[in-house]
């Protein structure tokens, strides 16, 4: 039966059909839905681990115990898990282990654009790359088989377009119930205890394994030649295969399901069957570099882009338009003729016979200057009040990864550094011990604190720096879609569990100055922070309130109102950057400033605007409820 599945759902189906027993990961766009889907299948244990390193260790333990295991993460998660990634490449396992890296070309939701195929080469393990959802399912199954056949973990490298594109997939039953491949946990120190003496013996083994994998790649069924014309040959993989089919319909194609190690004989053979050979791939010249190193002549011999990529951009996602334009620029495709040129783009004012209407401007690139719609903290977001106060206090704020990174967006403009998961506290500590004269603040979410914030806060406590840490505890992993974490009291598979209480955890780390305040209580938060700014030593504020999008919170929504007779358009409520607060058409009679008004469809009744309003022009929840029930 064919079903429309996203690439992520297809990986989950593939893992299940292949008999996976244990799956672990940490949520991260674009990887999250793999585990969410797999968690609903029977006979599978699936968990959100606190971070990707723990997740990979968990999957490795399961594979050591002879059960097929899967670890899922976004590309930067592999950095967190890299230590485990490298040792398991050395030890191998007793049963199949597949590590999914969901890369994010164009950084739709990421801090960098790394091409994780490089990790496969780095660790000497195979890399498989699907080109659509069917491929994702098939290659997941193939990855488990390959893993066991060669005693190696396998990297399944996805990208945003594969993860989040839905295409038809033939779904099937679990191939069989896989019993554990061993009776007893291995007692094999030469293979599994990587002390130097053992590790030195393992290294030649994995180099030899790589040679065997390269030989196997020649017959790997997902490396496939599609012969059409001989004028142009394209070596391609992943979503780029789709662009190759669309832009070069007459070209012959070598589609690689395995991009490391490469099938050298097949590549040489393919090169001999076409006049011009090119490589079409997203991001790094990963295949291209290897093919050039083989001494195979690629067209053109000159290189257009920096580094070594000859035709297509090294940054950003590809799409058919970019592939076509790059091919034209390189002289591979003819310039489009005037008649067939499709430049009639909506934003292209140069083509416009119409005069420009009032209120619209044209930017330098000839496009209409439309008001941007950046992502913002939602109405009712419990993070908003903290950032409003931090902005007001003008302190340096080191941020972290989550919805709350949006505290950087004007008018809040309250984050000054953000690098990676868990970085906020360490970076603030570094600035403090360097003797920076300002008092440094670290802002980190609850799930991020569990992920990698705990050791950094332990460091602040142990080495006594003057860092104020604010843990934005919204009781969920919000950014990726409300996944469970150690603070939520439930697991990925819906079991009730111990709900970790952050304040006592912080005390146990060695910090005495710690308070928990409801995140909507902006006055108390301001008072506390002002007091701490005058004293020395580590301090931690847990700003706690559940994410406004959680079902329990939605039930409490009440829309507040602005009294137009009291509001004088002072603009202070606009400075909290709430999408529910609008500039009305009415002007204040004295100052002629637009009055504030509240969108009843968007307002949740969090009261932050009411609390910051100096004229008490905005109703509180009780007042609104009172008006409603006792008119």
């Amino acid at each position: 039966m064919k079903r429309l599945l996203s690439g992520n759902e297809a990986v989950a189906h593939g893992a299940w059909e292949a008999g996976v027993r244990v799956a672990a990961g940490y949520p991260g766009t674009p990887s999250t839905e793999i585990l969410e889907t797999l968690a609903r299948f029977p006979h599978v244990y699936a968990e959100w681990s606190p971070n990707e390193k723990v997740a990979l260790d968990v999957a490795i333990g399961a594979a050591y115990a002879g059960r097929r295991a899967l670890a899922t993460m976004k590309h930067v998660g592999v950095n967190v898990a890299a230590d485990a990634f490298m040792y398991v490449a050395m030890t191998g396992m007793e049963a199949g282990l597949v590590i999914v890296s969901a890369d994010d070309p164009s950084m739709h939701s990421s801090q960098n654009e790394q091409d994780n195929r490089q990790y496969a080469k780095f660790a000497r393990i195979p890399c498989l790359e699907p080109a659509d959802s069917q491929d994702a399912k098939d290659l997941t199954i193939a990855a488990f088989d390959l893993s066991e056949q060669f005693d190696t973990p396998v990297l399944l490298r996805m990208t945003t377009r594969i993860c989040h594109t839905s295409t038809p997939v033939e779904v099937g039953a679990r191939r069989q119930e896989y019993p554990p491949l061993i009776d007893k946990y291995p007692r094999n120190p030469a293979k599994y205890v990587m002390v130097p003496a053992n590790a030195r013996k393992r290294h030649p083994i994995i180099e030899h394994r790589l040679e065997e994998l390269a030989a196997y790649a020649e017959t790997f069924p997902f490396n496939r030649v599609e012969m059409r014309g001989r004028a142009l040959g394209v070596i391609t993989a992943g979503v780029a295969y789709q662009y190759a089919r669309e832009v070069f319909p007459d070209a012959s194609i070598l589609k690689l399901g395995m991009t490391y190690p490469l099938p050298q004989k097949r590549i040489r053979d393919f090169a001999g069957r076409v006049d011009r050979l090119i490589v079409l791939e997203e991001l790094d010249p990963f295949i291209e570099d290897q093919v050039r190193l083989m001494g195979v002549k690629l067209w053109p011999e000159r290189v257009l882009y920096p580094h070594t990529k000859s035709i297509f951009p090294i940054t950003g996602e590809l799409n058919p338009a970019i592939v076509r334009e790059s091919a034209v620029a390189a002289g591979l495709l003819p310039e489009p003729q005037a008649g067939e040129k499709q430049v009639v783009r909506g934003e292209d004012q140069a083509e416009s016979p119409q005069p420009l209407p009032a209120g619209l401007k044209i930017r330098g690139n000839g496009h209409l200057d439309l008001p941007a719609r950046p992502p913002v903290l939602c109405p009712g977001c419990p993070h908003r009040g903290v950032f409003y106060i931090l902005h007001k206090l003008k302190v340096p704020v080191n941020g972290d990864i989550g919805c709350y990174t949006l505290g950087v967006v004007p008018p809040l403009s309250a984050i000054h550094t953000t690098g990676c998961m868990g970085a906020s506290i360490g970076v603030a500590h570094g600035a403090a011990v360097a003797g920076d004269k300002e008092r440094h603040v670290a802002v980190i979410g609850d799930s991020t604190f569990f992920h990698t914030g705990i050791p950094a806060l332990l460091n602040v406590a142990y080495n006594r720096s003057n860092v104020i840490t604010i843990i934005l505890d919204n009781r969920t992993t919000a950014m990726t879609g409300h996944q469970a974490n150690p603070g939520t009291g439930r697991t990925l598979q819906g079991k009730e569990t111990r709900e970790i209480e952050i304040e006592s955890l912080v005390r146990a780390l060695g910090i005495d100055e710690v308070v928990t305040i409801d995140a909507y209580e902006v006055e108390t938060i301001e008072k506390t922070l002002k007091r701490w700014l005058k004293q020395d030593g580590p301090a931690v504020l847990v700003a706690k309130h559940a994410c406004a999008l959680l079902p329990e919170e939605r039930k409490k929504y009440v829309s507040l109102q602005v009294d137009p007779n009291v509001c004088n358009g002072c603009t202070i409520c606009f400075r909290i950057g709430c999408p529910a607060i609008l500039k009305s058409d009415k002007l204040d009679p004295k100052y002629h400033r637009p009055l504030a008004e509240i969108d009843p469809l968007l307002c949740t009744g969090c009261e932050i605007c009411a609390r910051v309003c100096p004229r008490d022009a905005i109703s509180f929840r009780d007042q609104v409820l009172h008006l409603h029930y006792d008119p």
Binding site: K2, L4, P30, T32, H108, S109, D132, R161, H164, T165, S166, T167, P168, V239, Q242, Y243, R245, E246, V247, P249, P320, A321, R324, E340, Q342, V343, V344, R345, G346, E347, D348, S352, Q354, P357, A358, G359, L368, L370, P371, A372, R373, P374, P375, V376, L377, C378, T405, L406, V409, P410, P411, M479, F574, R575, G577, P579, I581, L582, K583, L601
Partner: protein
Amino acid sequence: MEFHQTVPMNDTASSPSKSLPSLNILLTGVGGQGTILASNIVAEVGVALGYDVKKAEVHGMSQRGGSVVSQVRWGRQVFSPIIPPGEADYLIAFEKLEALRALSYLRPGGQIIVDPHAIPPVTVTSGDAHYPEDETIQVQLARITPHVHWIPGVAIAEELGNAKAANVVLLGAFSALLNHDPDLWLGVIRQRVPEKYRELNEQAFARGRDLILTGPR
């Protein structure tokens, strides 16, 4: 208001793959408007019609009140999940500023279904940016195509008691433009929405359909 009795099966004009007739549908809106749910329905309808289908969207940070774009391609064999600029046959916009923002994707002469509903972005509400006037939007859309269908989805859905059903009003209009059997769509919609909202969504779908088939009442 335009009336169409045939399913347009346009070759993607600038693509060399002329032998592969396809229909490219771009859906756009603001995070929280149900753009992705609507695109799921459109994709499933394509499958039910026997098409090869690809549906592409981007999750994550962009969803927090930002612009949301979802792309659906129906065809005999679909390769790229992304619709190249100027090659969308239909633009379905749940918010009118987003229609303007996504306009570069529409092929000249393509069809636009747009909700006159406005959601001002924060750059307008707490910044200095200006939300374009209706006339501006109309003029810009008309530069690319005469086929612009204004469907007040939010207004109709509010009348029916739940603004969230606005996306299904526009899908009803879309199904009428394609001259499809409504039961085909309703079958997919029933599978995709909770039981308690079934009647609401059926009404919303019918209202959108009627606007195309009989004009505004």
